[in-house]
Symmetry: C2
Subunit: 409 residues, 2 copies
């Protein structure tokens, strides 16, 4: 018998695998339709344009194959300081930005810098499950604040901080996905963004402004970031190329006060030394040629159609069953409410019918939340697959309701 | 004032930056000669052969740009199970291997799986500083065992485990760099490898067998891994493409019992989801064409010459000053002993003379160890640069000794 099970850490015996990643094996079954992941459609990848940079593997080969610096490719960081200027309200300095192995790594490095066991993280409820998992792995305790169509209910935050502090707890930071929230789909209003920056200053807490979907907006104007309202340097902004270019490059970025940037870089030294020089150089070249901004409208148009198609499909098949949702202005997900149906049960039934999604409970921060919700991704499947998948979910709902009626009767 | 300094975690205020990474700024000064890093020479990168795979960015573009699985590229894992067979004693299964963002990440993921605060890690003393830092970041307490030319003094391990257990401490695993140790340069004997596997079984602890340099052997036969002597599944083996292909691809691998592999993969989900699909596909293609095995002799021949050149240079300039060393049979480093000279001081003086190395204390596990040692990398610099750098170190030693004599007189 090997030693591992006897010697695992407390974290190892208590951490939860990602429902999305764990469901991958199931999703790969033949005939399975998946609304479960958050994957871009392969058709929208700018393969030709990205390939144009491949010559760098030859022309700058010795540079691309060598270790990079921990803070990442200088050209790409320079590009990003320009690119981000409108959203951030100013052009940040090179000591305020570094690159990560996907924006998932930003969550881990930030947690390293901020969390001691028992420290409290305030989040939207529901929220991105892999963020909650990281915070918990680092000993953080997540407390969820409910949301409405304008995002997190900011007025509930000060009383929560005050009551937690009265209990002697340390509130370290607030985590928010400001645009087209995952899983909720809603976008935080400008008023609330301002308010959040004020709260962070007043209560001396950090804000992790996660914005992987921010540039994938289908209608309406881009809103200024929370970062842009911050007067003291309390807001860390994280972006990613995963949804606007290619997740396979594992390239994300983080912008914030040099104090927190430096500290996260020190932890990056020990978690992976540096990110891929190959990926960063290819992404930098692609961006500098103007392709990022040129190609974005095509991605947006493609996903907008899929969102609209899923909307129509849900109106046909799910609305008659009482299912409700708010149409997202951007991003990757519908968040539906299925009154009277436990979506853990619904997911199992749906898998029998060869359609996958993620049940709401996976995103719940406070216990027992979101048991009637489900997250449906629309960026990956084609229209007829979306239609067929929604039909199957509808059939699963009908069956579960009929069975519940049968038990009652 | 921003919030960060007030809210950093205990770890953030106590972790140490990597001396190598922190010294990078200094190393970049014009005229500076660096023996400090552990970087491959750019001239040995197989740029042309690696570039041959660039067409995959077009031909398999949608696959390379998409998220990968957390355990990594199947073709590359399959290749590695074949490639590693002689060293591991058997062909491992696909559930016993996964890919990491460089082998540095393997250290972090393993620590996640194994370490609670206060748990003990036994290491060689001296040892790889970024490993020690990761273990410490995770709350581990490192205890060092001295080494001789045949590696770690295995007979000292059981008494240490027993005395630690008598104190109520948990010894979780032993960390070793078996071949051409970093920084010590020595290689563990076969007898000691066998003994280590037995100790791990008897005391129910894990072994992390780190082998980034194992394939860079200049003379003598490859030795079987500790993994190959393990009968119960207690040994985790970690390899890397950083020294035998290209660190810029951030591609490493880990082989072990499925129980520990699965657990590390769960933590990988939350630290970076998956490694680069681009890098893994390019590396897989390169390896499958046979280039890895074809090209390795060229890398080895190149580095062997540099090692031999540094050896001769040190004989000329350092041996007359009483400096001693053991010639490494492979790997990247000389570990020198400078009797009567504190190498922290020597490093500062050497930097004044525009030559950099890493002082021994950076690798010390037990306090006060290695104050007369220094690690010198020979794979990065050309011959005349090596000669000039060694001369400058000699001059720095002469100065320090003269000053010490002056003070005594």
């Amino acid at each position: 018998m090997s030693t591992w099970n006897d010697n695992f850490s407390f974290k190892a015996t208590h951490t939860r695998p990602s429902p999305v990643r764990e469901i991958l094996a199931v999703i790969k079954q033949p005939g399975m339709i998946s609304f479960a992941g958050g994957m871009p459609a392969p058709e929208v990848f700018p393969v030709e344009e990205f390939y144009e940079s491949a010559h760098l593997l030859k022309d700058k080969g010795t540079e691309l194959l060598q270790y990079g610096t921990t803070d990442g490719n200088v050209e790409l960081r320079e590009f990003l300081t320009e690119f981000m200027q409108p959203r951030l309200g100013r052009k940040v300095g090179m000591d305020e930005i570094f690159l990560t192995t996907g924006s998932q790594q930003a969550l881990d490095l930030f947690s390293w810098a901020m969390l001691d066991p028992g420290d409290v993280v305030i989040t939207e409820d529901p929220s991105y499950m892999a963020a909650i998992t990281v915070f918990m792995n680092h000993g953080g305790v997540c407390r969820g604040i409910p949301c409405d169509a304008d995002g997190i209910l900011v007025d509930k935050i000060p009383p929560l901080i005050e009551s937690l502090r009265a209990e002697g707890k340390k509130v370290k930071f607030l985590y928010t996905i400001v645009n087209f929230q995952n899983p909720g789909g809603m976008t935080m209003s400008v008023e609330r963004r301002k308010k959040l920056a004020e709260i962070a200053e007043k209560y001396n807490i950090g804000i992790f402004e996660d914005d992987p979907y921010g540039y994938v907006r289908y209608e309406g104007d881009h809103l200024p970031s929370i970062f842009s309202f911050d007067k003291v340097g309390n807001v860390l902004y994280a972006g990613s190329f995963s949804k606007i270019l290619a997740p396979g490059t594992r390239t994300g970025w983080v912008i914030g006060d040099p104090a927190i940037i430096r500290k996260m870089c020190v932890f990056k030294q020990s978690t992976d030394l540096c990110s891929s020089s190959v990926d960063q150089a290819l992404v930098a070249d692609y961006c500098k040629k103007g392709y990022l901004t040129q190609h974005l409208p095509a991605i947006i148009a493609n996903y907008r159609k899929r969102r609209d198609f899923m909307e129509e499909s849900m109106k046909r098949h799910l609305a008659p069953l009482g299912v409700t949702w708010v149409k997202p202005q951007g991003g990757f997900f519908y968040w539906i409410d299925v009154p009277g149906v436990n979506t853990d049960q619904l997911m199992r039934r749906a898998l029998d019918k060869k359609v996958a999604f993620i049940q709401g409970s996976a995103f719940a921060v406070e216990e027992g939340a979101c048991i009637h919700n489900a997250r449906l991704n629309y960026t990956y499947c084609s229209n007829d697959v979306i239609e067929e998948g929604i039909k199957r979910i509808a059939a699963a709902i009908v069956e579960l309701k009929a069975e519940a009626e049968g038990i009652k009767a």
